[in-house]
Symmetry: none
Subunit: 225 residues, 2 copies
């Protein structure tokens, strides 16, 4: 497993590198966004730990450019503690997960493991789960030869589910990530969009469906592969 760590705080970066090395990861550590992008563009890594605040190029920019270059390596983004909007921005730029500093090293390792074993693969600019393909650039959802266009909200909601297929995503999380952390959107909004999405899944005759966990949230039901 190869990991790229892009973090300008040297002490933190070195510590991370060492700890991950102890966990049998092969690590490369760089200290600015430009280097980070160069290294990452090689596509040789299994996961990238990417700070947001970086010299030369910030983390969002790095993530965006990577995705643009069809590099699909999973990205775990590190955001500064009080910058909540960063989380949303991070996901929008193509990050797969985020953590706020200060973080627990054990949790970081757990999330890295989660990213490397994840089933929803980002291939080029698309997310895949089961027989579904979500094209990130056009916001089109395809299955076989059929395809439908998704609205922004539909797209964002579905993406949340597709990033971790089978994992239950709480409604409140969906609201936080799609509508914003301090939004007043209600559960009903999510329900409405889930309903729209289900209709489209049915239309596409996909083998994946959206499951409900009462009083909690939703998950993607993907047939055993």
């Amino acid at each position: 497993m190869r990991v790229l760590i892009v973090e300008d705080e040297r002490r933190l970066a070195e510590a991370l590198g060492q700890i991950m090395a102890e966990q049998r990861y092969q690590t490369d550590v760089v200290y600015d966004g430009a280097d980070g992008l160069d290294y990452a563009l090689t596509g040789q890594y299994d996961v990238i730990v990417l700070d947001v605040m970086l010299p030369k190029l910030d983390g969002f920019e790095v993530a965006s450019r990577l995705r643009h270059a069809h590099v699909s390596t999973p990205i775990l983004m590190l955001t500064a503690r009080d910058e909540m909007p960063d989380k949303i921005a991070g996901l929008d730029h193509g990050a797969d997960d985020y953590m706020t500093k200060p973080f627990d090293i054990g949790e970081l390792l757990a999330r890295v493991r989660a990213l490397t074993r994840r089933q929803g693969e980002v291939i080029g600019e698309q997310l895949v789960a089961g027989d579904l393909i979500l094209e990130l650039s056009t916001r089109c959802l395809r299955r076989g030869d059929k395809s439908v266009r998704l609205g922004f909200k539909e797209f964002d909601v579905l993406r949340q589910l597709m990033v971790h297929p089978r994992a239950v995503v709480p409604k409140e999380d969906i609201i936080a990530r799609v509508w914003g952390l301090d939004s007043e959107a209600e559960d009903n909004n999510v329900e409405v969009y889930i309903s729209f999405l289900r209709k489209k899944l049915t239309f596409l005759e996909s083998n994946v469906s959206i499951g409900t966990v009462r009083k909690v949230g939703y998950y993607l039901e993907v047939p055993a592969s």
Copy 2:
């Protein structure tokens, strides 16, 4: 957000509980280490505020045992004085953060926020007893390839039993933990849910069953392993 407060100084404990309740936390307050451990073992909390000096079991012991039982709820430990050894000991025993008394309530709230913010999605946390697997995220109960959905109450009741397999859980405890400490639920409610659960255990053809101790409560009967 659910918070467990374990603190033997009643006045402080109550005050904390009230303040956190005002901050929209759902709080449970207990006054000794043994209760603290029992409550915490349910894994239902998002953070635990844990005093070190406690009757029955001290805070270190509680933290150790929790980690041993693979309960990963973040722990904020309260140490009596500015005793350096305590801090180290606390972190060694599995605490995630510590504060020394007397502390500023605002700082405590800030630290609790920090701890809860790093909560990742819990993927695949489960309770096991005999051939039964209780999936915490989906509230599904599995045995072999069969699986059933549990309602909220069913789930909560069963979880109480599964935390300590073979241990007798008094009905009043079940009521306190599932319906709330000051609820008006009657014994019959518990009996009804036990009945529901037994039906589902039968359906699953599990080797685990629910035993009755007359006038006291219930326990999980798990075949000798």
